[in-house]
């Protein structure tokens, strides 16, 4: 039950941060488009925006992975301690 609640909380956390990330990406788009389009053109602008989006997703995935792995290792060590005692 403890593992289930933990994983469910991870899913909720990921969902909230996904929504927050989407808001940040799309809130920054008008600013990026207005400044980048003038300087580098439409195609490069799209590539740039996709790149920024991809980097944000990678950072989000890294945080997500770290959180879940740490939780898993703490559960496992807690069990090992309980088994040895």
């Amino acid at each position: 039950m403890r593992a289930f609640v933990g994983l469910a909380l991870v899913i909720v956390f990921v969902w909230i941060t996904m929504l927050a990330g989407l808001v940040v990406i799309f809130a920054s788009l008008p600013f990026l488009i207005s400044t980048l389009s003038v300087r580098i053109g439409r195609l490069l602008e799209s590539v740039m925006v996709a790149g920024i989006g991809a980097v944000m997703v990678l950072v989000w995935l890294a945080i997500w992975k770290e959180l879940a792995f740490r939780y898993f290792l703490s559960l496992l060590s807690r069990r090992e301690t309980a088994d040895s005692s």
Partner: protein
Amino acid sequence: MLEEILRSALTLGAGFAVTLALVPFISSFMRRHGVVGVDVHKPERPLVPELCGLVLVLGVTASTLIVGVFYSEYLLRIVAFAAATLIVAAVGALDRLVRIGPKLKPLLTALGAIPILLLVAYDSHPSFPLIGGTRLTIIYPLLIPVALAVTANSVNMLDVYNGSMSGTCAVATVAIITCMFIRGSAEAAVLAAGLLGGLLAFHIYNRYPAKIFASDVGSLYVGAAIGVLAILGRVEVAAVTILMPQIMNAFYGLAAIGRLYERKEISARPVRVLPDGRLEASRDPRAPITLARMILASGPMREYEVTRHMIALSAVSAILAVATELLIVWW
């Protein structure tokens, strides 16, 4: 609305009936021809007919034909759905024959995007929660092959325990249908109902103790079907939320191993079977950290209990997905 619900019920019934009727024939055919696999999560290691995901392919495709009768104006998108999912199912069947390998398989499953792109069966103006409608005319078509490869292979990687793929995907499909009705994509919801019918019938035989295995042909097909339905029904963000347990499982495995891998090539298994039949999380640091290993970290469980946990996590994701869709519609 009532008409759409009745049509969905009919398509669900067709998918369910065809799949259920075909299982005995296909499973005995596979067993007769030696197409069997070892159920590794049981101490007695029974042999179970493989490639039975073929019944899902046939059952869901039969229900798709019925949707074509209801919505002739929607025919192009129905053809795109059938063609895309059948391409991915063919990749799954090919993998059973020639062993494609972990790197080539995602690339080949991405080929399922070709019919969607050729028939322009997508809308490059997706809506996001708290943001509203967007215009992604360049990026959206580029993301379709990636989306299909991710959904197909994520569902495939969770098809490890009896009933885990069919159970979690049935919950996911219920949520996707709900989201489609909220969005007003009734045609796509009727199409998805056929997939739900097939999954429910398949789950009867695939749940613990499994009498059939879907193999790659079934799991890749179901994953691709969910991906294509998300595109046709314009519920992309909700679909990402719905598939979180599958994506979590795939991503954790990849992050722990550091590359794409096949289950068979991993020497340190994530889970080991105890003599009493219960499953225990491996303490080997080389073993991939999968969703099942995480569930089992708090203590040993029966295989069906692990599957129940996975289905319950899918239900949590399903609730969040419906909330996502409501945020999009209300915003």
